[in-house]
């Protein structure tokens, strides 16, 4: 859309109007009896989203419950991680889910089980034990730093991450 702000109905009389000086109030120019909140546009540099399949043209099929197509269009660059790479042209294949056209996508990365530890589209369930571990780690800065070291900084790539969380074999299937 490339507009600098959008009007939003709601928010007025909430404390968001106090803590967010960038949220403004305006009389609706088309009906001055109404006061309306304005919020600034968010223009991300990069969007990252996960998909079911991607092809070499950048087309990605993802879940219809995600806002992938929206964030891809809002951002300067969009990176899709996908469960599978497709050799053909996904725009020419029947599919369920939502197709994010390649024109919105800067890069497609093959990352099976890439939604871990969350569930993805019925392909795999949530890893509840891992989420519990994360919640526990989030209780203190030291524990969280250790979590980051173990699962983020301490693994050189996605394959090593899968190895660490015990999913290397499952992802290879």
């Amino acid at each position: 859309m490339n507009v600098p702000f959008v009007p939003v109905r709601g928010l007025l009389c909430t404390d968001y109007m106090k803590v967010r000086p960038d949220f403004r109030v305006l009389a609706n120019p088309y009906d001055p009896r109404e006061e309306i909140a304005l919020v600034p546009a968010i223009a991300p540099d990069v969007a990252v989203f996960h998909g079911i399949r991607g092809d070499r043209h950048g087309n990605v099929i993802t879940s219809g419950v995600l806002d992938a197509k929206l964030i891809a269009q809002a951002s300067r660059r969009a990176v899709a991680t996908v469960e599978e790479i497709s050799e053909g042209d996904l725009t020419r294949e029947p599919h369920t889910g939502v197709l994010v056209p390649g024109i919105h996508v800067s890069a497609v990365v093959h990352a099976p089980r890439g939604a871990h530890p969350t569930a993805f589209e019925g392909k795999y369930p949530v890893d509840a034990d891992h989420v519990r571990e994360y919640v526990k780690a989030a209780e203190s800065d030291a524990a969280f730093a250790a979590w980051l070291e173990r699962y983020v900084y301490g693994v050189p790539d996605h394959a090593a991450y899968l190895e660490r969380v015990g999913l290397a074999a499952a992802a290879a299937r």
């Binding site: 928010l11 404390d15 009896r33 419950v65 929206l70």
Partner: protein, 244 residues
């Protein structure tokens, strides 16, 4: 399936109290982390509201959109939701609730995830029902730390919906919009007015005597413990496990 004669749990009493407020043909949406309202919707659909249109975030079977949360949101802000459910980390007697932060906004002791939708959806959903499984003085406070949603708003502000009721593990509060305050509606079976009073941090406005919340019927319990539980388990596996 447990025998229906078995005493209902507090979660079952809450689900039934919620289910009986839902009407046939309504469009009813439940946000994330809300297993009790989701169970109540699945129950109502099997009983008196077969024509209800359910939007249950997290469920694949009950998410009738393919354009993400954005599409749900656009649908909601057009005033299409008859009922929407939220929780409340803090709720005060004026119907303000806080799902944003506990403590100071910039240095909170807890930062909560419910702010992004509720500052808007509470203006457009016709009947907003809050549910809370912990009825205590840290939840039902004299004044919320942060107003995520105001109970009432002055004229000139677009508001086509708002707070309708609060269902807790002890009772049901009704929101009186004209008076701008919560009023005790019913207390759950086995709960006394004194129990509610001692665990509520604002003065109670209660009818005398206080009516009792509905006692779940054998049919309701059988459904909750059978097919509702099974369906709920497809998108709230952890919650269902904890209920056994």
């Amino acid at each position: 399936m447990a025998p229906a004669a078995e005493e209902p749990t507090r979660a079952e009493v809450m689900a039934v109290a919620i289910a009986r407020r839902l009407r046939d043909g309504e469009t009813i949406a439940v946000g994330s982390v809300s297993p009790i309202p989701a169970g109540a919707c699945l129950l109502a659909k099997r009983l008196h509201a077969p024509g209800a249109r359910l939007i249950l975030l997290g469920s694949r079977a009950h998410f009738p959109f393919n354009g993400g949360v954005q599409e749900f949101y656009n649908y909601a802000v057009r005033g299409r939701l008859d009922v929407f459910f939220a929780s409340g980390a803090q709720i005060d007697g004026h119907g303000n609730f806080n799902l944003s932060v506990i403590g100071d906004y910039d240095r909170p002791t807890v930062r909560l995830p419910g702010g992004r939708a509720n500052g808007i959806l509470s203006f457009v959903a016709k009947r907003l029902i809050l549910f809370r499984t912990e009825h205590s003085r840290r939840v039902f406070v004299p004044k919320v730390d942060f107003i995520t949603s105001p109970g009432t708003t002055p004229e000139g502000i677009y508001r086509i919906g708002g707070l309708h009721a609060v269902v807790t593990d002890l009772c049901v509060f009704e929101f009186d919009r004209a008076r701008g305050r919560l009023e005790l509606g019913t207390v759950h079976p086995g709960v006394t007015l004194a129990d509610v009073e001692s665990r509520t941090g604002f003065p109670l406005h209660a009818p005398s005597p206080v009516p009792a919340s509905p006692t779940p019927t054998a049919e309701e319990l059988a459904l909750l413990r059978g097919p509702v539980r099974e369906e709920l388990g497809t998108f709230y596996p952890e919650f269902v496990k904890q209920q056994s």
